[in-house]
Structures are given as structure tokens and as C-alpha cells.
């Protein structure tokens, strides 16, 4: 990947971060860490793989809906000004995704179910002999603790759903702390491979590595997973040490510092 394209993708990722900061700012807290960790993964997906109007997107952990909203304006699915309603009473842009959430095809707040939904969409395309449509499903690593994910993984491989790509934000973060301190998910890639999937284990903040993995994943005739190793504080040096990645508190001067940092980098 040439450096110009890399810079473009990095700026796109930082735009997702910037919009997420602005969505969370009026509330003083929220699911900012999820946007910080998945920004490059989603920027690469939207810029290089996902085709609005053709492909389908499932955001399994509804808390990550913030990053889909943040990409809404570029996808032509949401106005920039509507983002200001994020998380407010009466808004369709609820902080945990619902049926009224724009941008995505399916989301939900009860974790571990999104992959099955994505498998259903991919199966619908397979049953109709539709070889164009692809289904992308954003999952988080904490979700892999839910048994249903593995039910869906087995089924998808059994049915040969090569039109399905999982985007796994492996940010090692869940409510009670680092995932790795709560349960052992590793080896994640080998688990998926042993289930019959193509697995790509990459630095989730490296847009070039993500781009290469994504291109290969799209060529697969079996389901594929891009495992993006990420951090919930990446891209915001101003965040205090040890900020709770699942639910970041951000207010006052910290918001100004975050906006300034991201705008400077994008300039």
C-alpha cells in the first residue's frame, strides 16, 4: 500500500474517532473506547470492502453502534448534524443499538447473537444464489465468551458461507476488565481455523495489514475472520492512564484536548 493511501485510511480512522468524541462529549461518558479500538478496522472495511446498498452490515455488540453512526455521513446513510442527537432522549441514535439504529442492517444489545444474524443474512443470499452480496459482522472479543458465537461459527463453515466476513475487534476489554484476566480466549485464530474458517490475525491499528487481510478474506470460499488486535485507548494520547475502556469518562478540558489532538493529526 502506498503511503498516500495509508494516510487516507488513517485520516478516515481518526475521523471516526473525532466524531465519536463529539457524540460522547455532551454526556461526559460513553462507548468511546469501542470507537478508538475499532476505528482502523472499520475505516478499512468501509473504504475497501463494504459496498453500501449491496453488502450487509451487522454490528453484533450494540455498544459499537457509535462507530457505525460515525461512518454514516461518508456512507451517505446519515447526516453529519444528526450525530448530535446520539444518546439523547427521543433520538433514533441510541447509545446501545436498537431496531431503529440507522446505518446497519442488524444490531443488538444482547451480546453473542449478531454472528447468528449475519449467518442468517449470508444464508438468505446463498439460498437465493446471490453471489454478489457480502455480509460483514463486527464482533468483539469479549463476545466470544458466549456459546452462541460458536454455534454460529460451526454452522457457517458447514454451509460454506464464503460470503461472510467477521471483523473481530480484539481489544482485550470487557466490563469487568481485560478479557484475558477473565477467561482465556487464546488461541483465537486457531480456534476459528479449527472451526473451518479462514483467519487473519493482524495489528488492528495498522491499516496496511488490515487492508491486505481484508482483500484475502474477500477471496475466500469459506467464511473468514479478520482478528484485529487493538487497544481501547489507541489514537488518543491525551486519555489518562488506566481509563475504563468499556465506558470512558470524558469531560471538560479532556474533550478539548481530544478534539485538538485528532484535528491536528488529520490536518
Amino acid at each position: 500500500m502506498d503511503s498516500h493511501r495509508m494516510k487516507e485510511l488513517e485520516r478516515a480512522a481518526d475521523l471516526l474517532r473525532l466524531r465519536a468524541v463529539r457524540m460522547v462529549a455532551p454526556h461526559g461518558f460513553g462507548y468511546l473506547g469501542q470507537a478508538l479500538s475499532s476505528a482502523e478496522l472499520m475505516a478499512v472495511t468501509f473504504a475497501e470492502a463494504f459496498r453500501p446498498g449491496i453488502d450487509e452490515l451487522v454490528v453484533s455488540p450494540g455498544h459499537y453502534i457509535i462507530v457505525a453512526y460515525a461512518a454514516g455521513p461518508e456512507l451517505g446513510l446519515l447526516s453529519e448534524e444528526s450525530l448530535t442527537s446520539y444518546g439523547h432522549d427521543g433520538s433514533a441514535l441510541e447509545a446501545i443499538g436498537t431496531e431503529s439504529s440507522p446505518v446497519v442492517d442488524i444490531t443488538g444489545g444482547s451480546l453473542g447473537q449478531g454472528l447468528s444474524s449475519a449467518v442468517g443474512l449470508a444464508l438468505a443470499a446463498q439460498l437465493r444464489h446471490d453471489t454478489t452480496r457480502r455480509v460483514f459482522a463486527l464482533l468483539s472479543d469479549g463476545e466470544l465468551e458466549e456459546g452462541q458465537v460458536w454455534e454460529a461459527a460451526m454452522f457457517a463453515a458447514h454451509r460454506g458461507l464464503g460470503n461472510l466476513v467477521v471483523l473481530l475487534d480484539a481489544n482485550d476489554s470487557q466490563v469487568d476488565g481485560p478479557v484475558s484476566t477473565i477467561t482465556t480466549l487464546e488461541p483465537i485464530a486457531q480456534k476459528w481455523e479449527s472451526f473451518g474458517w479462514a483467519a487473519y490475525d493482524v495489528d488492528g491499528h495498522d491499516v496496511a495489514a488490515l487492508s491486505i487481510a481484508m482483500a484475502d478474506a474477500l477471496e475466500q470460499t469459506r467464511p473468514a475472520i479478520v482478528i484485529a488486535r487493538t487497544s481501547t485507548s489507541h489514537g488518543l494520547a491525551c486519555l489518562p492512564e488506566g481509563a475504563d475502556g468499556h465506558f470512558i469518562k470524558i469531560s471538560g478540558d479532556l474533550i478539548d484536548a481530544a478534539v485538538a489532538e485528532l484535528e491536528n493529526r488529520r490536518a
Partner: protein, 335 residues
């Protein structure tokens, strides 16, 4: 007139009706949770293998997938035993089916204590669980005639449906002129001392009990309530108003099912009618080799319906004895 047991039976009325429907409707899919023959869909699998989906023993995935398939224009019918169709994937039904209000048909076999397979296999709370969910239609039919019509009737319900079905030999209680309705409960027999509201397998018990009571001069209304949600309130109010007391009969816990639904209507209408609920009295059912033994042990026999009506009317002396009906092979009579 009450059509009394024993009744002739048929095998696989659901499976046959479902195949017939699928012949007319390309968008119908059949999902199986590893109980294909038991849920009568081996017939579908033979005729439409390309629309038959083995989901395996993975009910959570099966339900969530069905929701997504329904979003894309299919009408998925999901099949397993009632316990595995409702209790186990409850959160998936809530989030992937009921909340998005999708046309998934959840077909759960082996209701209540019709299985001697122990509490793990006895769907005694499925109606309660499904009735509590917004958008869900809940159907518990009594016989093969209703099954055939219900399969067609539920096909075009815009939201999700839970269809509760007896497994194995299915009695034919109603003739071909009988009309199943999703909107209306069905007054099987008029009577003004006591009215019995019954669903599913307990309808035949209610009819048999009514005859025993009529024989000793008690006027008994029998109302078949195959659709527990949305409930036909008008028919319940009308028939309960005419009667002095009310009995409900369901092959299910008395908490949250038909009995609760009727009680809610009576209370909300201010209809001061005493009520007895026949069903599992807030207990799990254990220790059986046969379903018949369980129906007796847990108070779901025809005699229990008779006794409930007798007591709720505060009649003096012993309740009449329900007849013991001989059932030749291939025929059915309630316990």
C-alpha cells in the same frame, strides 16, 4: 352436541399441512433442531430438500438465524420440542424475533406433561414465556382439523407466532366444517352454570367433563381457546357473564398461561365469577413411565376438570365420576 371420546387419530397432520403450504409458497423455509422426524418435517425434507435447513442442536443460533432469514423475505418455520423452542433460546426470541416483529413461526412439540421425559422435556411454561413477549401470537390447538387450518392461518401473520403441538397420534375432534380462527374463540357448547375455557390437549378433557356434569343436571359451557394471544376477550366476557363460575383447563402451569389470561380478563372487566384453574399447580412433573400417569398425578385428568367445576359451583356431595373411556389402538381419549 358434544363430540365425545374416543376419537380417531391421524399421524403427521402438521407435517402434511406444512408441505401443502410450502407447495404454494416458495418463501417458506423449514428449520430443524435435530428433531426432524419427531416434529413431522421429514415430509418437508423429502419434498423440499433445498428449503430444509438442519440447524442441529443449536437452538440459540437457529432462532437468531431465522430472524435474519425473515428480514430477507423468507417465512422460516422453526421446529423442535416446546422446551427447546422457547425456554432455551428465550433471549434470542426476544431480541432477534419478537422485538423486530418478524414473521418467524416457532413450532414447539410435546406440550406440558404429554411427555414422560421429565422436566427437561416438559414444556409447562412455554405459553407463559411466549405470551409475555410483545408482538407474539400464541396458538395451542386441540385436534388435527385445527392443525391443518392453523398452519395456513399463521402463514401470513405479520409478526412471530408460537405454535404448540401435540406429538404423535393426533385426535380428530372436529369435522371438516369446523373453522379455526385466529381472532375468535370457539364456543363448543353453551351452558350457564359454569363455563370451561380450554386449550390444546385439555379441550377433549373439558368436553368429556362437561358431559359428566350435564348428566347430573349441571349446565356447562365449553369454550375452545386455541389462540391464547391475542385473546378473544369478547367471547370470554360474553360466556363468563352468562355463567355463575369459571374453570380453565390447560396442559401447562396455571401461572402465566390460559388460566392467567382468563383471570386477567375477568378481573379487568369486574366480572365477579369464581375461578378454578386446572393445570400444573406451580410444580415440575416427575417420575413417570407414561403421560397418562402424569395427567392423573398432577391433576390434569377429566375427573380433575369435573371436580374443579363441582367445587367452584359449591355443589353439595360428591362430584360425578368421569367415565373411563376405552381407547382401541389408533384412537385417543383424554385421561
Amino acid at each position: 352436541m358434544l363430540n365425545l371420546p374416543p376419537y380417531p387419530t391421524v399421524l403427521k397432520p402438521y407435517g402434511r399441512a406444512f408441505v401443502e403450504l410450502a407447495r404454494q409458497r416458495d418463501e417458506i423455509l423449514c428449520l430443524s433442531g435435530d428433531l426432524t422426524r419427531q416434529t413431522e418435517i421429514d415430509l418437508f425434507q423429502e419434498e423440499f430438500p433445498e428449503r430444509f435447513i438442519h440447524a442441529g442442536m443449536a437452538e440459540a443460533n437457529m432462532i437468531s438465524m431465522a430472524g435474519a432469514l425473515a428480514r430477507r423475505g423468507f417465512i422460516p418455520f422453526v421446529h423442535t420440542f416446546g422446551v427447546f423452542a422457547t425456554r432455551r433460546p428465550l433471549d434470542q426470541i426476544v431480541n432477534c424475533v419478537a422485538y423486530p416483529n418478524l414473521p418467524v413461526r416457532i413450532v414447539g412439540f410435546m406440550p406440558g406433561v404429554s411427555s414422560p421425559g421429565g422436566p427437561s422435556h416438559q414444556a409447562i411454561d412455554d405459553v407463559a414465556l411466549m405470551r409475555a413477549l410483545p408482538n407474539m401470537t400464541v396458538v395451542d390447538v386441540a385436534d388435527a382439523t385445527e392443525i391443518r387450518q392453523a398452519v395456513v392461518a399463521i402463514a401470513d401473520v405479520p409478526g412471530p407466532v408460537y405454535l404448540r403441538l401435540k406429538r404423535g397420534e393426533i385426535p380428530i375432534i372436529f369435522d371438516r366444517l369446523h373453522e379455526f380462527s385466529l381472532a375468535h374463540a370457539h364456543v363448543v357448547h353453551d351452558g350457564d352454570d359454569v363455563v370451561i375455557f380450554a386449550s390444546g390437549m385439555m379441550l377433549s378433557s373439558a368436553m368429556s367433563a362437561a358431559q359428566s356434569l350435564e348428566d347430573v343436571g349441571v349446565s356447562v359451557g365449553v369454550v375452545n381457546v386455541p389462540v391464547i394471544k391475542p385473546l378473544d376477550r369478547a367471547t370470554i366476557i360474553e360466556t363468563a357473564t352468562r355463567a355463575r363460575a369459571v374453570v380453565t383447563a390447560e396442559n401447562h402451569s396455571i401461572i402465566g398461561g390460559l388460566g392467567s389470561a382468563v383471570a386477567e380478563v375477568l378481573a379487568e372487566e369486574g366480572l365477579a365469577r369464581r375461578l378454578r384453574r386446572v393445570g400444573l399447580a406451580d410444580t415440575f412433573a416427575e417420575g413417570a413411565q407414561s403421560a397418562a400417569w402424569l395427567f392423573k398425578k398432577y391433576g390434569l385428568s377429566t375427573q380433575d376438570v369435573v371436580d374443579a367445576a363441582w367445587r367452584v359451583l359449591e355443589r353439595p356431595g360428591e362430584a360425578p365420576r368421569a367415565p373411563t373411556v376405552a381407547t382401541p389402538p389408533g384412537e385417543y381419549a383424554p385421561v
